[in-house]
Amino acid sequence: MNNTTHFAFFDEGSKKEIRRTTLKAVAIPGYQVPFASREMPIARGWGTGGLQLTLSLIGKEDTLKVIDQGADESVNAVSIKKLVQQTTGVEVTDSTEAASLIQSRHRIPEVPLTEEQILVLQVPTPEPLRDVEASEYVTKRLHAEEEYSGAWLLLFEQIMKYGKTATGADHPVYVNGRYVMAPSPIPRFDNPKMHISKALTLLGAGREKKIYAVPPYTDVTSLAFEDYPFVVETFASHACHLCGANDVFLDELVNEATGKAYYQCNDTSYCLDRLNSQEQVEVEHHHA
């Protein structure tokens, strides 16, 4: 009997099962593979799907980055980071470039990912057809028969009601021209980043017990009608009040004193990087 301690919270059996599921998910891009979601020390719906993927993949040489809605320091990101670090001893980082494994909630980092990196996304509702069809039995069949009029219908209804596709997040995508996938609640702004991405993207839904994936260099097309093309959020008329960036996803914040809106980078580590490099330039310039 093997009496050595297991690495990274999970026992070997759990890791094996989740890795097998992941392999199947990578083999069938966009297909939701069911798996036996484990009981985790955080509550279901708080990133257990992503956490399980992270813990099954992480090795001693990995560097981990955890983001929650673009921020590295929010409570959820910090507690997940702590848990993984205490059970594995791996290094954690805020820098997107330095990380080999990135677990994220609701955002894809602004810095383009590389072939050496894996992006893990936490998913609340993996089923893009859930709003039109409540039954899992039926949605499974609809996926099998490639019958996605329900997903299109949801967009059509938005156009009828608001005059445009109003998906704030989780805009459905075709993966590899076959499966329609809910890309987790990332803003539309991030959808194009999945297309022909160099990094492997894994999506885990702990409560719904599903894992699915977008392998590197895979076609990802956002659903859009001929006369209502897919558009991302644009912030051209605004800029981050800290670093001045305007080609990234910005948060709208309100100055309580004046009641005026101001904007700030949603991806905090990207913003910090820009500020640091600006400072670097200033310092070099000053001393030169």
Binding site: E146, E147, L153, F156, I159, F225
Partner: protein, 279 residues
């Protein structure tokens, strides 16, 4: 020359249950009504055959439990058949038994060749989506990806079934029963299907609305030349709509002919009872 039927159904059988030694053999089958007294297997449709000719309305009457709705559900692929064949003579489907096709193909037929109006609008409509969205659903399923063209078609159809345009973005759950039924008809017609199924469309509607819906169906048939199968237990509906009529009893067709002939000169004892109970 006799015209070719647009829909030809041969020996459609539908049973609920596995059957037993007492009922599995068709020749020795001794059923109480249409179910086996030994094992309880229900033989809902037994060797139903029919022809639907282009532009005609075929009425199907029978008491409740006679298998008329089950037959319709089988033809519309809502239920699977136990055995039997059906052929649609339209375009690329010539000569193919549609019951043997794949699920995708069946879905294609449902979206492009068929229209269905259920007795209960809840089955045919998505009640929490706008009426326009409901019509668009069928167009989207048939491959349309152009919002303005779908909106145009939707407006035309809703106008045709007399739904005021300012209510087109409203959900059918806010509509009256008659309006819901008319939205369902508009949805069924959205892809210009050659075949339309109507399952007890007027049951549960009050008389003036009934007349309204029947007028609409008659008008659609005159203008668009769609072939229809109308299931009803209401002989008045059948008399008004159907060119030919089939009478079903306990899952079998017992009489078939021109509607006037069936109603004026019924041959089978059951049909006679049915017709005289009305008069």
């Amino acid at each position: 020359m006799r015209e070719e039927p647009i829909l030809h159904v041969r020996n459609l059988n539908k049973q609920f249950g596995r059957g037993c030694v007492h009922c599995r053999d068709k020749t020795k089958r001794q059923l109480e009504k249409n179910y086996c007294p030994t094992c309880g297997t229900v033989y809902a449709c037994q060797d139903v055959s029919l022809n639907l000719f282009p532009g005609e309305i075929l009425g199907i009457v029978g008491e409740s439990g006679s298998g008329k709705s089950t037959m319709m559900q089988c033809l519309y692929f809502d239920a699977s058949v136990t055995s039997g064949e059906a052929y649609i003579h339209n375009g690329e489907l010539n000569g193919k038994n549609v019951f043997a096709l794949s699920q995708q193909k069946k879905r294609y037929i449902r979206n492009n060749k068929y229209g269905m109006v259920y007795q209960n609008p809840v089955n045919g409509l998505k009640m929490n989506f706008s009426s326009m969205g409901n019509i668009a659903e069928k167009l989207i399923a048939a491959g349309n990806r152009n919002v303005s063209s779908m909106e145009r078609t939707g407006h035309q159809l809703l106008e045709h079934v007399q739904i005021p345009l300012f209510r087109s973005k409203e959900e059918p759950q806010n509509f009256s029963g008659g309006m819901q039924q008319r939205v369902q008809i508009a949805k069924a017609l959205s892809n210009n299907p050659p075949i339309l199924f109507l399952d007890e469309v007027t049951t549960g509607l009050d008389l003036s609305v009934q007349a309204n819906v029947l007028d609409l169906i008659k008008e659609i048939q005159r203008e668009w030349g769609i072939s229809m199968i109308v299931v009803s237990h209401d002989l008045a509906v059948i008399r008004m709509l159907a060119d030919r009529t089939m009478v079903m009893l306990n899952g079998s067709v017992i009489e078939e002919g021109l509607t006037d002939q069936i109603l004026e000169d019924p041959q089978h004892a059951y049909t006679q009872r049915l017709v005289y109970s009305l008069l």
